[in-house]
Each structure stands twice: as C-alpha cells, then as structure tokens.
Amino acid sequence: MSHLALRQVTKQFGSVKVLHGVDLDVRDGEFVVFVGPSGCGKSTLLRIIAGLEDASSGEIHLDDRQVNDVSAADRGLAMVFQSYALYPHMSVRQNLAFGLENSRMPKTEIEARVMEAARMLLIEPLLNRKPGQLSGGQRQRVAIGRAIVRRPGIFLLDEPLSNLDAELRVVMRAELAALHKRLAATMIYVTHDQTEAMTLADRIVVLRDGRVEQVGTPLELYNKPANRFVAGFIGSPRMNFIDASIARTERGSGLDIGGKHHAAWGLDLPHGSPVTLGVRPHEVDITEVEAGAMALEITLVEQLGAETVLHAKTTLGGAFTLTSPGQGRFLVGDRIGVALPPDLHIFDSEGQAVSRR
C-alpha cells in the first residue's frame, strides 16, 4: 500500500499541452478512478504516475518521496494495460513469473506467489497455456495476476475492461471491487465509462482537456456537480440542460423558463442573467400539459420494464430525457407537461454551479 501526491503536474507533447497543472492526493488503500472523455489526459496522467512518461513540470510523490526521476521499475507500481500486454510467446505461468525473475527472487517464492495469484483469480488450470489460447476474460485475469504477484504499492489500471463484452465487463467489475477489498490495495483506474467510475470508485477524478474538473465521492459528484461538464458526464441517462434566466419580481427571486416563472430561492445573480438549469431525468414529475413548468412532445419511448425512458423535445426545440417508474403507457407524439423539482442544479453562463445562500 502506498499513497500518492501530484503537485502541479503538467505534460506537453511538442507544442500541445495535454495536462495543465494537476493536483491530487491518493490515500493508502483508496480506489481512485480517473474518468473523462477521450483525449482528456487521463491515460497520460496514469502513465506519468507509472513512470512510462515524464512530467513536463510538477512533482510526483510516492510515500513522501519525490519520484520524478525514479524509473518505472523502481517506483514499485504495477500496471494493467488496456491491451493486457501479455507476452505472447510465454505461458501464463511464465507471464506471471517474468517480473519476479527480474528481481532475482528465490524460485520457491516466485512459485508460491504465482500459485497464490492463480488461485485468487481462478486461473490455475490455465497456467501452462499461451495467451493466444485464452479468451478475453481469461487474458484480463492473467494481466491482473501479473500485477498482483508483484505486490505493488499501487495498482494502475488503464481501461482494463474496455476490450471485454458488456456482460463480462459487469462480472469483472464486481470481481475487481472484491479484489480491491481483499488486497486492501491502492488502485488508480482509468476509464471513460462513468458507470464503471460510479460503481468502483472511492473517489472519482473527472478530467477534461487536461484539467481536473472535480474530485469527490461518486455521490458527491452526482449530487453536487461543480460544473455543467461534471453534471453532464456523471449519471445515466444524462442530465437535461435548459436555458433560462434569473427573474427578480415582487414575489422574490426566481427563474424565467421560456416565459414561465419558476420559483427559486437564494440566487445571488442579477435580474436577467442567463443561466442553465440541470435536471436529472428521474427528478421530474409528469403532469398535464398546462400544469407543468414545461411542455414536451415525446419522440421516443424506451420500455426497460422497471422503468420507462422517454425522449422528448421541448416547445423551445431542445431535447429532454425523463424516466418514469414502471411501464407507463406513452406513445410517440404524446404531449405531456413536467413539473421541475425545487432544488434544480443551476449553472452560470461560464458553466460553473451557482451556489445558493
């Protein structure tokens, strides 16, 4: 187990800056997930921690030791690659043992560790096979096993599940969570899949364009997104965004949504300021068209059994998604109204969450 601290880490490839000063602390035994869209710098950040890339500036501390100039091998970390990176010409056993042999560990110790990892991951029967003879899920286990045998300070996992089919991904996700508990290891996990992030993470780091947008527990990010990007990225189906403006009337402060007044408290912005409202699909109630804060026309109905997902367009032309519990009887073309919840997410024109008094 190790802890990690990043201080103002930047990375530049030629003239392209891919990381703009990342600060982060990862505690002992924590499961931290880096999440963000493609090209946000999450994999680069992981590779910098691993020592496979050098940071252009900033400091990397492992257990209070600055490791910027320490080689990947000497950082005591293990990485699971997206492609698994198994040596194709070696058996599973040799793949697991290869890293340990480098450290001139006694043979009996190597064998013991290989067997322990193989038992843990249920790959004992595969030890004499070559990677080419394994299924995707089995290769994934071997790749994780190769990290486990080294007993690293931190496990670094770079989109480890993205090459698996959807069903297997769910299974392996649960196993990874169990493994984390069992090993009590520090893990840093990179994914672009917010569901993986939500289900696995102790804390999530949301990255965009080389900047940390927000760090927090899954529910913190879900309930109190710091900005519009995080709000849109975390949660499925995605949060709806509605253009509105601040309306101060004799009745107090409120919001003007397409000409309709909507009460809202504690907003410090001046009258007329443009804002964006964020509403999660399950937070709205369906009403009669006239009674709702907004009128919608349904464009697509997805029956999931336990709930119904409705895709609709607003009278202003924007798209809106909402869910209704159970198996609602909706038809494409139906017009419905929606009542907005009292505690809307409100973002200013910069996209930052507006705090309420």
Binding site: G51, L52, A73, F81, A85, F98, G99, N102
Partner: protein
Amino acid sequence: MSIVSETRGQAPSLSIVLAAPLRLVMGALNAPMSFVQRRFGLGGMGAVFLAPNMLIFGVFVLIPVAINLAYSFTGGMAIFFGERHVVGFEQYRTLFACGDYTQPATCREDAFWQSIHNTIFFVLVQVTVLVLAALGTALVLNREMRSRGFWRAVFFFPVLLSPVVVGLIWKWILQRDGLLNAVLVDYGFDRTLWLAERNWAMFWAIFVSVWAHLGFYALILLAGLQAIPRDLYEAAMMDGTGRLRTFWRITLPLLWPNLLVVITLALIRAVQIFDEAYVLTGGGPGTSTLFITQYIYETGFAHVLRNLGLASAASILMGVVLVGLTLLQLMASNRRNREGNR
C-alpha cells in the same frame, strides 16, 4: 471492383468514360469465354487461367531444368543434345573423384572443390555477418531518432543497384589505383593490393555483398520489430526488466519468425553468389574467390573446352542444395503462418 469503388463520391461521368474501353473489351471477351467455359467446365477454368503463367514457367524454368539434368548425363563439347554422347554418371564421378575432400588439390576437379570450399566459407561468414549487421541496423533504425526516414533510405539504397553496378563501384574503389589506395597514399600509407591478395579479396567479396544486401534484410527485420506491440516493452519496463534481458526474452523470441526467414533467404542467396564477386575479383587471385556459380559458368561457357556436361552436373548438385534450403524456408514460413493464425 475498383471501377465500382472509384465511382463513389466522384463525378460519375469521368469514371464511365474511363471504364468504357474496359467494358468494350470485357464485352468482346464474353463470347469466347463462355465457349471456353462450356468446353472445360466451371472447374476447369482455374487451369485455363493458370495456363499462360505455367507455360512461361515451364518454358523458362521447368524445361531448362530437365534439359540440364539430361545434359549432366552426356559428354563432349557439342552444344546440341543430339550430337552429344551419353556417359551415364561419368560427370558426377568426375566431380566426386577425390582423395581428400578437405584438400581440393587432391581432387580430379580441384577447381570444383576449391569453389565449394570458398562458397562454404563465404556462406558461413557472409550470412553470419549479414544477419547480425541487418539485426543491428534494424534495432538502431527502430529507435525514435531524427531523420529516421533518411537513414532507412541510406541503408536500403544499395539494394536498388544492379549487382554488376555494385561490383563496378567497389572495384573502382578497391583496385590498385582506386579511390581507397589514393586516399591511403595521400595520408602516407602504402598501397595495398586489396583485390590481389587472397585474404583481402575474400574479405572484400564478403564485405561488398553484405553492403549490397544489408538494407533488404534490415527492412524485413525492421518490419518485424515494428510489429511487436509497444505495450509489451512498457510492461517489461514496469517489471524492471533490463535492456539485455528484454532483448533476449521479448524482442528475439517475437522477432524469431522474421529472423528465420531472413537467415534462410540470406543462405540461399549467398550460395548463389556470382555477379558482384565475379565483377569485383573475377574469382581471383588464383581461385581464392572462385565460387560455385562462377565455376559452373566458366566450366560450361567461358572455358575453351566447353564442358557442358560437367557444368550441368555441378549445377544439378547445387540445385539440390538450394532445394533443401528452400524447403527449410518454406517450413519456416509455414510455421510462422500457423503461429500467426492461432
């Protein structure tokens, strides 16, 4: 196929115009083709399409090989087969008549055995040096380096030269009043007869052929190196694998199929060594760089006593060796395909 795909997204009028003559030809071929198909059946069409190529292959390869074999059982100086007399295995007996195969001078055809000795020495040294040099070059070119494309071109350039040109260039450099001696004399050294001293002549024959072929093999190995995923090296790096161990345990095993192809191809080509060496040294001094192909050529065509029978027998023997090496190469590449498919 290509016409159809090119039509997409482009002005259709142009491709229709371009395709028109093709359509005309194809239309004209329709009737004869259906006649041929009726005649030979659908299954026979494969053979029909192969026939032209087989005809060329037969006329220029198979039939000459058969003629060659037949000639090796005949004697005399006549060129036409009908005028030659059959001697059975006499030519082979002549070639193999020898007191001690390790001492060419004790053999009846001492030049033949000398050329075999020279060829074996040449093949062993040249292939070893060539493969190691090609591997080294490929490893260097595979690194991230400035103007990599330029360096690749530099090493590949000699491959584009005709072997005779290669021989002439180096002869011009190495001959008595050549470039190398001129430079040496300028710097106060003595002239060396690079091509007229036994050991130097062999050295330069090997050097020049390595120089001429290096780029080709380096390119094959470079392709193999680039096919090794970078992830594997990164995984090895995370595992703390040293550079030498990474090379032995990861690079070499994964490059092995390419290396095997390179070794066998280099072997086959080294056994066939002729043009560069012939132009460069002419087999000399004496017979010190006389290789088997040159022996065959001179025995059959250049010598005043044209001994076509003996030359044919020698070339059949050489052919057997080459077939053996080719089978080796086929086995190597078959194994590679099987492993690739798994």
